[in-house]
């Protein structure tokens, strides 16, 4: 079994036992959608205009919660050091964390997304699948950059506050692209959507590569 899969497997077992990461992301995601429903008149026109925005605010903030949980688990009892002792390239440890963070974010989103559809009176049709596809791309991008940023913020005093400070400015391209692509799908006019999807994919690939290379400087003293 490759170390990457071993890490994902271990995280899944821990998550099944503690249920901390997915449940907090889920709760937070639903709360964001709810609050936005109060903030805007439920039947108004602008409601459909802001819907994609609310979805991605929910996703990207919930992701920060999940990332903080996932890192807290590795910091507890200095487990990260145990990982570093293993004969595994530091970059692969990063890839493992990306994979498990992505998995948990997706599990939470699989539940949040239908709630979003119901709250906004959308239909469970092809559109829904298209939005799910955008969610996969956008979430992967967030997981790729979030996994290294959460490891950086774990070294600071007030870790939990530091992660959003680092992550939100850097994920602006992801949020813009995902929101724009989602709006295009919802409005039925998908001309030019591919450039947004390319941007999301490019973002993921570039950050995955760069983070893979520099991760050792984050974890070594």
């Amino acid at each position: 079994m490759s170390p990457v899969i071993a890490i994902v497997f271990k995280d899944i077992v821990i998550e099944m036992r503690s249920k901390e990461s997915v449940s907090s992301m889920l709760m937070f995601g639903v709360l964001v959608l709810t609050i936005f429903s109060f903030a805007f008149e439920p039947s108004s026109i602008e409601r459909s205009l802001i819907a994609p925005g609310t979805l991605w605010v929910a996703f990207s903030f919930a992701a920060i919660l999940g990332l903080n949980r996932s890192l807290a688990m590795e910091i507890d009892n200095d487990c990260l050091q145990g990982l570093l002792l293993a004969p595994v390239d530091r970059g692969n440890l990063y890839i493992g964390k990306v994979a498990s963070n992505f998995t948990f974010m997706m599990i939470a989103e699989v539940i949040v997304l239908p709630i979003f559809v119901i709250f906004n009176n959308l239909k469970f049709n092809l559109q829904f699948l298209e939005i799910a596809g955008i969610a996969v791309l956008g979430t992967f991008a967030i997981a790729a950059i979030g996994s290294i940023l959460s490891t950086i913020s774990a070294n600071t005093r007030m870790k939990e506050v530091m992660l959003p400070v680092l992550q939100i400015p850097l994920t602006v391209p992801v949020v813009i692209s995902s929101v724009e692509a989602t709006s295009m799908v919802l409005s039925g006019d998908t001309k030019g959507i591919s450039s947004w999807l390319y941007l999301l994919a490019g973002f993921s690939i570039v950050y995955l590569t760069v983070s893979y290379l520099v991760f050792e400087f984050v974890v070594e003293e």
Binding site: I145, I148, L149, I152, S153, N155, T156, R157, M158, M162, V165, L166, P169, L170, V172, P173, I176, S177, E180, S195, W196, L199, G202, F203, V206, Y207, V210, S211, V214, F217, V218, E220, E221
Partner: protein, 222 residues
């Protein structure tokens, strides 16, 4: 000595620059006297991007060499970045109010500039909350690289998202020759100012480290 020469150079160039901008430069036909803000605004904008790339470069060099002088360069570039992004945003707002009728709009260039400022801020905040000197340098450098990689993605996404900023007239060649001359002098003056500020900031960073060292030495002696 070097900083003294630079300082005198900045003084001379700045006086010349002010003369060029407020006396020599012709009034622009449509915008009038307001247009003169451009001679400040443009160098501010360029300096903020220069800071971003300086920070990225210093970060890469630190991770290769593990020499704290590169970290001092990165940290100084980060602070210069905050300074010049705020200056360019403020000078832009002063210009936008009479011309567009608003202080601020979520136009591509403005948004980018604002975001760049935020990234510099998070870089400095990260450093402020890292306790150890080497950690500050290593994690700051990693974040510096991640931030630099972000700039082109920001640029693309925001460009596609919206565009309202006046297209740069400079590159179009639409600028009067006299205005060109003023702009050149202004760029030279601000380049010198940038070099001077960076040099002083790095010198201060060195002194700060020395003070910290001495404090440690005194405490360890007790």
């Amino acid at each position: 000595m070097r900083s003294k020469i630079l300082g005198v150079l900045v003084l001379v160039l700045m006086i010349a620059n002010l003369y060029m901008i407020f006396v020599f430069a012709p009034n622009e036909a449509t915008m009038g006297v307001i247009q003169r803000i451009f001679y400040f605004h443009l160098p501010f904008g360029v300096s903020s991007y220069l800071s971003a790339y300086l920070l990225g470069f210093a970060s890469i060099m630190y991770l290769i060499k593990h020499d704290l002088k590169w970290d001092r360069l990165g940290a100084s570039a980060g602070e210069m970045g905050i300074l010049f992004t705020s200056m360019s945003i403020m000078s832009g707002a002063l210009w936008a109010k009479p011309v567009w009728g608003i202080w601020w709009t979520w136009d591509a260039r403005l948004t980018l500039q604002f975001l760049l400022g935020l990234i510099f801020l998070s870089y400095l905040m990260l450093r402020a909350y890292l306790p150890e000197r080497e950690k500050k340098a290593a994690l700051g450098a990693v974040f510096g690289i991640l931030a630099m990689v972000d700039v082109p993605f920001n640029y693309l996404s925001i460009r596609w998202w919206r565009t309202q900023h006046p297209q740069p007239v400079i590159l179009g060649g639409g600028l009067d020759w006299d205005m060109w001359k003023v702009m050149m002098v202004s760029f030279c003056a601000f380049a010198a100012l940038y070099a001077y500020l960076l040099d002083r900031r790095m010198a201060i960073a060195r002194v700060e480290e020395e003070v910290e060292y001495l404090e440690h030495a005194i405490l360890a002696h007790d």
